[in-house]
Structure formats: C-alpha cells, structure tokens
Amino acid sequence: MKRKTMIKVVGWVALFGLMAALVLGGCGGAAPAPTTEKTASGEPIGNIFIAIVTDLTGPTSADCVPNILAHVAPFEIANKKGGLVYMDPKTGKQERVTFTWEMADNQAQVGPCPAIYKRLMTKNPLFWISGSSASTIALANQFEQDKVTCVSHPTNLDVYYPFKRYIFGMMPSYPEAGAAAIKWAAEDWKSKGKSGNPKLAWFAMNVPFGKAQKTVEVEAYAKSMGVDIAGEWWYPPMPVDLTAEFKAMEAAGVNYTTGNETPYQAAAVAKEITRLGLKDKIKVIHSYNSMNEPTIELAGDALEGMVGMGCCPPRDDANNPVMVTYQKIAKEHNLVWGWSTAICLAAGGPEGIEIVKAALEKRGWPLTTDNMADAWEQMATYSYGPAPFGVLRSYSSTDHRSQHHMVVQKFVGRRVVNAGEWFKLPDMTPK
C-alpha cells in the first residue's frame, strides 16, 4: 500500500516537474538567444541559419518537397566543401560560413504559420525560405515588420499585395501563368485560321491552389485578348472520374481549359481526356507546375502532344550549360526533378548569393557581390551562365509586378520539349 502511494506520488511529482520545466524552459530558454554574429570585425561569422516553412504535406506537397530539397542542395554542396570562404572587403580578412537549416510544415495552411515563425525566429535565421503560398500570405506582414528577408517560391504575392520589400519572388505568379495560357490560346486559335472567339474554361481542383489562376484581372485580360470564358468546372479534391466534367464542357463548346494543377492532377486530367477521346476537341493547357517528369511518370503516354506553359527549360536541354550542371547536381543529390527544380537550384546557388548578401547587408555586414560570388564559384563546381529563368526580383515601389519569362512546352515521346520562344509575360497592371 505504502509503496503504491510512493510510486503514485513520485509519478505525479515527475509529471508536474516536467510541466514546470517546460513552462520555465519556454519562458527563459526560448528568449532570443545571442547569436554568433560579430559585425564585420574580421572574426568568422560561423553559421548561417536558414528557416524554411513549406508544405511538406498537403495537396501541393508533391511539388513543395522536391523544390525545397533542390533549394537547399547548393547549401549542402557549400557545407561539404567546408563552407563558403570569402574576402570581406572592409577588413580584408577571409571569412568562412557554413549553412544549417530547419524545415517546418505548414500543411498548406495559414494556421500553423505564426507559431512556426516565432519558433524558428528564436534561432535567429539569416533569411527565410517560404515554399507555400499560405505561409507567404500569413507571414508577409511579419517579414516586413521584422525586416527579415524571405525567398518565396510561389505565388500570387504581386497580385495580393502592394509591394513587400523583404520578399523575393522566384517564379511567375499563378494569375500571370493564367494570362500566358490565355495569350497562347488566342494565338493558337488565330494560327489555325478559325473564326470567332475561342472559348476557354477554368478547370482545376477545387482547392485554393487550383483556383488561384482565376482572378478579376486575368478575366479582364482574357476579354481584351478576345477569349471568351465559357465557364468553370472545379473537380473535388480527391481522385474522381472526370467524365461528367469533360462531357459538360463538350456540351458547352469549350475549346481550351486552363488551371493550376499538381503533377498528380495533371496526370488524372490527361488520362481521362485521352480515354474519352476529347483530346483534340478540348485543349488542356497545363500549368507550369506539371510540365515535368513526375507528371510523365504518373500519366505515361496519355500526355502525348499536350501543351503547357513552362517557366524553366526542359530537363534534357543539352544546349543549355546551366541545365547540364543542374542535372549533375540533381543526380548527385538524388533529387526528384520537379517543375521548378532548376529554378530552386538557381535560387539556392547563384541567386542564393544575392540573397545571402542582401540579408548580410541588412545585418550590417556589407560585402560586395563579387566577393561572395567568387567564393561560391570556388565552392561549387559549377558556374552559372545566363538563364532566362529563376531570376530573383525584389518588388520595388515602382515595379511591384515581377516580369518573368515563360515558354510554351509540349509533351513529345515522354519528354518535355520547348514548342516556342521564351516570351515576357503580359503586363496585366490595371491601367
């Protein structure tokens, strides 16, 4: 009896002790810890911490996971070589930096973001990588308030927001991609010598990601291009039979469809439309998220001849030296080649230098770009040439709409090939 009571008492004391330790630890220990930073005094900066928030799970995780792995691959390379060594122009001494990072999952939701932000900010990150639209939307004001640099993988930022100085966008926004699809549809319709206006339907999964291309601006742009919006069909966020949607579209006389889709959804659409034999009647314009190998792997031959708007060169573009080196890195790091792997490698590599530099400058470590870039080239085995993609743009007060480049791509024989010239995206700024 006594022993039992003892055990109980000890158990409870242990439990409460644990709770108390947690609370105290949270109060005291988690306060912003002094970091190793030494302002340009010539001592090694040591470690650069990168905080990452992205959809490791959720409807878009199939994109986000390979993207984030590609983004950190160049940092891994730098670490393996013992860190980034550069000459500080102020002191004239050599500095050495290594990188660490931590990933947090916001599950494609806004809700978990503030807690993730506060948790990772205690580690004093030099900059953030935000891989999910939701996280960028949720944290944009925080980055601005705390003056923290953020590299954003997606999104609709330039439409949703007045400019944000501390956020760098990497890819065309979804509405821009929608506008590019509309532009291509209008040109394709004209080149085939058909009369009247082409009818375009929105067609994607009924989740915010899927519907993101459809905005008021894009629909106004479609009107100005002479493309009629014939309706919108959103299928449920689960694997479904799409016979009804395609038949309804056929009945409505739709010529083109567009919408945001992950490789998985694109594969489902391609399979269904091929099965129904409507491939030529209704042209599905895939989004840049699905012009890639995972889609081909999931859909197989069903994709043959389908088009889409791409924003990075095809994987096996042997003429592009940048792509060749990226291929090598992807192979070494066992990366799944996603739709924006090249862009993410660029963002972690050559463009990453700009980010590191910009972030360091904001911390009071002025360095010239050349020093850093030289250091990077010594570290990494690859150089970067001119590439019309993955250009990091800050949003200034006059140019808050990043002008990216896109290209029409096509699936031919289980490969993605360019089917046109790179073009600058249409400017949809309301006049």
Binding site: M1, K8, W12, M19, L22, V23, G26, C27, G28, A30, A31, P32, L56, T57, G58, S61, V65, I68, L69, E102, M103, A104, D105, Q107, A108, Q109, V110, G111, C113, P114, A115, K118, R119, M121, T122, A134, I137, A138, N141, N156, Y160, N206, V207, P208, F209, K211, A212, K214, W234
Partner: protein, 349 residues
C-alpha cells in the same frame, strides 16, 4: 470532495465556485502569473498560449455540445471558420468596430449552427456525426466558392483588433485581449453547466427520451446546445482571424475538427477543466512532436522531411487511442483523484 472542514450552511455557500482561502490564493496566484507572463515570457511562449487560448474557446464550446449534451459534432472547425469569416467581412466590408464584429460572429455562427443542428432533433449517434461532417465539408466549400463574400482563394486581410482608440497590435497586447476573453468564456461555460440549462443538457446526454418524459424540452435544449457550441466557435474564429491578420479558406480542416474532439477525450468529456487540460496537453505534445520530427527525419532518410506531418499525426492518434482505452474519463478524472487523495491524506478514504 470538499477540503476538510468546509461545510455549507446555505445554498449560496454550496454553489460558490471558489470556496476556501487556499483556493482563492491559488486563483490569485494563477491570475497574477497569467497576466505578468508577457513581462518575462518569450514571444514563442506567448504565441503558443494565444493559440492555445483560442483553441480552448472552440473546444469548450464543443464540450458543451458533446460533453454535456451528448450530441457529437465533427464540424467544429468549420464553425470556427464561419466566425472568422463573419468577423472579417463585418470589419472590412461593413466597417463595424472589432467588438461588434466579435459579437456578430458569435451570434452568426450560432444561428448557422442551429440550422445544421436541426436534423439532430430526429437523428442521433452516427447519423448526427455524419450530418455535422456534412456541415464541415459544405461550409468549407462555401468559404472557397462564395467568392463575392469570402474573397475566394485570396481570403480576407483584416486589421488588428481595436476597442475605442486602443489598437491591439503587438503580441503582448493581443495576449491580454485573448486571455481576458478566454477567461470570460470559461467562466460563462462553467456557469452554464451549473444552471438549469446544464442539468437539462446532462439529462439529454444520459437519455433523451427519459429527459423528454421528465419535462425537458428536447427541441429547445438541443438547439440551444448547438447554438452555444457554435457561438463559442464563432468567437474563437473572430479572435483567430484578427490574431493572424488573415482568413483563408484552407485553414479550417476536418483534421482540426477531429483534433478538437481528441482534445476533449484527452481532457475528459463533460467537465470544464477537462477541456483546459486536454488543450494544454495536446498542444504541448504537438510542439514536442514538431521538434522531434526533423530529428526523426534525419535518422530515417527514407521518410525524410515529411516526418514533420506524420509524427504529429501519429502522436495525436496514439494519445487519443491510449486515453480512450485506458482512461476514458480523461485527465480531469486523474486530477480529481489527485485532489481527493491529497485532501484525505494520510487516510485512504
């Protein structure tokens, strides 16, 4: 069980919540701790507590419906969303002050809850669970697709809450705001359960036909339970949207709804303190899981970074199942055992 030497000489004495000096002392110490925390607590702790408090309001509402009235709801998160959207629309579109928007979202979500609670008059058990599940899916669909009102994929950006000229923008000021409202709501919930209404709820939970025979108006009390549950959710939603500064359609998932039920189970259904225990326990475990997950991801390269989602899920499910099997009455039961044995010490009974 009351502390030794405490006796009631009148009804008023019997119904008082805080009875002894020791309890008063503890309560005051707790309140002092709670309201001085921003002075020495880190941002991280404040954020955690803010999210906990908001969740607690929603879970407490669910406790009134599921724990006290016995009507299961698998759609609480959607009603939190309704509150969030009503508050966002009221402040941005109609320019209402924040406090008015808070009340609007409480009432609005409650009224919507009544509509989805209507089938509860005829159905119960699994059918009711599915009806509330339908509410979850239909409402979330509406958040995304009623673009003219909800802003569609973009959601709605809202300003910081303000009362009169006072703007609550910093983490600390939001903390005070949220804590005060949470305490008021907890006190409100505690008192509802001790009145006629609460007793009617318990009667319905134990056997609704018997309750009906005894003169409990089933129609009124079941709908009242739904109204209360959903207005708690609405208020939580209003606080949440102004705390985050944005409301977006993918925020209110079925996972959250189930997690609210799980928190209730962990804490103990049908007790006000149970909800508090459950929320604190699950949220702290969640933080542990989030810290643990990347380490596991590094240890098991096959799973990789996706462990950050899988590990919390696993932790939730295991703890819910363990509590259901080994301690269905939840942490609150353990707490009351501890209290009574402490009061009886050194005697066994």
């Amino acid at each position: 069980m009351l502390p030794c030497g405490t006796r009631s000489f009148s009804y008023e004495e019997d119904v008082v919540v805080v009875r002894t000096r020791a309890q008063w002392g503890l309560l005051i110490a707790f309140l002092v701790f709670l309201f001085t925390l921003p002075l020495y607590g880190s941002y991280y702790v404040l954020t955690l507590l803010n999210m906990m408090a908001i969740t607690l309001i929603a879970v407490q509402g669910l406790n009134l419906l599921t724990g006290y009235c016995g009507q299961i709801s698998v759609g609480q998160a959607a009603f939190v969303g309704v509150g969030a959207y009503i508050s966002a629309i009221a402040t941005t579109r109609f320019g209402l002050p924040w406090l008015a928007a808070l009340i609007c979202s409480g009432v609005g979500a409650g009224v919507l809850g009544i509509i989805f609670g209507l089938p509860a008059l005829r159905i119960k058990g699994f059918y009711l669970a599915m009806a509330t599940l339908a509410a979850q899916f239909v409402l979330c669909w509406c958040f995304l697709n009623l673009e003219t009102w909800t802003g569609g994929t973009e959601g709605i950006h809202v300003d910081d809450p303000s009362i009169g000229g006072m703007v609550f923008s910093s983490e600390q000021s939001q903390y005070y705001l949220i804590m005060v409202i949470t305490l008021v709501m907890m006190f409100f919930a505690k008192n509802i359960t001790r009145t006629k209404v609460g007793r009617a709820f318990v009667a319905i939970r134990d056997n609704d036909l018997a309750a009906n025979v005894m003169g409990v108006n089933l129609l009124f009390y079941k709908l009242l339970a739904f109204f209360l549950c959903c207005s708690f959710a609405g208020i939580a939603g209003s606080l949440l949207t102004h705390y985050l500064g944005v409301v977006s359609p993918e925020q209110f998932t079925l996972e959250d709804s189930v997690l609210y039920l799980g928190m209730l189970v962990v804490g103990g259904l049908g007790s006000t303190m149970g909800a508090v225990f459950g929320v604190i326990m699950v949220k702290i475990l969640n933080e542990f899981a989030i810290i643990l997950a990347p380490i596991l991801g590094a240890v098991f390269p096959w799973a990789g970074p996706v462990t950050t989602h899988a590990v919390p899920l696993l932790v939730y499910s295991v703890i819910i199942i363990v509590f259901l099997i080994f301690e269905p009455r939840g942490l609150n039961h353990r707490w009351s055992i501890f209290k009574s044995s402490y009061r009886l010490y050194p005697f066994a009974y």
